[in-house]
């Protein structure tokens, strides 16, 4: 029996889908059989981030409606043969899948996979409730902005009310220079407000835009860019490895040193 993890945020555009694509790829790279479930029905995105948009035949709603079986709807990744995507339907609505159907679906997937990563839609309505219904654990993602933090707080409250005990936090789009100058909330400030365990910090990185447009998760470039490194550290931590928090800063300062050297 595998483990189902939902990645959620409340607010839109903070990086849920990016996190799912990268963490999922990272887990598969380490040999775990992983499936990514896009529950954002009507606003399908995850396929683009993996570059799988032209391989989709069936989707999650087709499975639920019995138009195909689960295996037929799974799309295998281009690069890794133990990574699969269960795409959302683009032409349906969130309400076309009930909470019970989603729970049963996730349970079926858990039988075949080591990890089931669930990409939750933004918001706290039906789509959110069905996305969390089958999950064993939850990762909350936020950016260091007050609006995003308040939404994360709300979502954590809802998750706790739904019996989730293993909650962890990813802080996305951190700009260490701005934090240093006091122009941005620091990770410590966020942890003080949200008081849950920290899973990882992802620095702001323009390479992410390139990676999304290319449909190639940035974790493949973890030796070259900060965000890729950050996601690979998150995967390590998720697997229970003890990773020092300095590693990200170390990597960063090394790059910065080269940068400074080149600029003279």
């Amino acid at each position: 029996m595998g483990k189902a993890i939902v990645i959620t945020s409340g607010k839109g555009g903070v990086g849920k889908t990016t996190a799912v694509a990268n963490i999922g790829t990272g887990l598969a790279m380490r040999g775990f059989k992983t499936v990514l479930v896009d529950t954002d029905i009507g606003l399908r995105n995850l396929d683009l981030l993996l570059g799988l948009e032209n391989r989709i035949v069936y989707n999650l709603v087709d499975v639920v409606e019995g138009k195909c079986n689960l295996k037929q709807a799974l799309v295998r990744d281009k690069r890794l043969n133990n990574l699969y995507l269960l795409p959302a339907a683009q032409t349906k609505e969130k309400e076309s899948v009930t909470i019970e159907q989603m729970r049963a679906l996730i349970n079926d997937l858990k039988k075949d996979f080591d990890f089931v990563l669930i990409d939750s839609p933004a918001g706290i309505e039906h789509g959110f409730r069905s996305a969390i219904s089958g999950a064993d654990e939850a990762i909350v993602i936020t950016t260091p902005e007050v609006s995003s933090v308040r939404d994360a707080d709300r979502v954590i409250g809802l998750l706790e009310a739904n019996g989730f005990e293993n909650l962890s936090l990813i802080v996305n789009r951190v700009r260490f220079d701005m934090v240093k100058n006091g122009d941005m909330l620091g990770v410590d400030d966020l942890l003080e407000i949200l008081s849950i365990e920290l899973l990882g910090i992802v620095p702001e990185d323009e390479n992410l835009i390139i990676s999304v447009n290319k449909g190639e998760p940035i974790i493949y470039n973890s030796d070259k860019c900060k965000a890729g490194l950050a996601f690979s550290l998150i995967v390590k931590r998720l697997l229970g490895e003890d990773v020092s928090w300095d590693e990200l800063e170390k990597g960063e300062s090394f790059l910065e040193r080269i940068f400074k050297f080149l600029r003279g």
Partner: protein, 202 residues
């Protein structure tokens, strides 16, 4: 009815109720007489003096307090909050943080151990105590109970209301002395005080 009256019970402690028509010298003498006559019993206690709205000059009061304390070892106080807390001993205890979107509705006193986060609200008919930071909103005494108070260790709220009075948030200033903030209603206005263990404000 006598000019001043002495009362005491387990809930409210000892208090002296003053006839507001007396002048300051009369009050002083009467209090001293009362204390002298019961000195053995009262030694080491603290007494709440209820002036029933009468205005006393702060210098006079402080000087008098000091004198009584040095002579008889009795602490006088005219702050109300100690009394108010002890009026009812029942409290609902909630472990925080109270997260965004949560609405707590409580009839009795409320004790929150943890923060009250931005986007959450507490509606309570009695006193609210927060052992943490308030970033959300609190309404104490919602059934027009202006005797309700709010205590918080740190205060950066969205809204603070007692009965029908709303606190002017610009009154909140970061201070280094004392612990926490008391919010209460006095003469139809919400007041904010730094709590200093009841010693300095007397």
């Amino acid at each position: 009815m006598s000019k001043i009256s002495f009362k005491g019970d387990l809930k409210e402690g000892i208090k002296i109720i003053i006839d507001p028509n007396l002048n300051w010298d009369e009050i002083r003498n009467l209090i001293v007489d009362e204390i002298k006559s019961k000195e053995g019993f009262l030694k080491g206690s603290s007494i709440y003096v209820d002036f029933q709205g009468k205005d006393i000059k702060d210098e006079d009061w402080q000087e008098f307090r000091k004198e009584i304390y040095e002579k008889y070892g009795i602490m006088l106080s005219k702050e109300l909050y100690r009394l108010r807390i002890s009026n009812s001993n029942n409290a609902k205890i909630v472990l925080g943080p109270i997260r965004s979107g949560k609405s707590l509705n409580v009839k009795d006193n409320l004790l929150v151990i943890g923060d009250v986060n931005s986007g959450s609200e507490i509606i309570c008919n009695k006193n609210v105590f927060v052992l943490g930071k308030v970033r959300g909103s609190i309404w104490a005494g919602y059934e027009n109970n202006d005797k309700a108070t709010i205590f918080a260790l740190e205060l950066e709220p969205e809204k603070i209301q007692i009965a029908r009075y709303i606190l002017d948030l610009s009154k909140i200033k970061k201070e280094k002395t004392g612990v926490g903030y008391w919010v209460y209603v006095e003469n139809g206005e919400v007041k904010l005080n730094r709590y200093s263990g009841g010693k300095k404000n007397g």
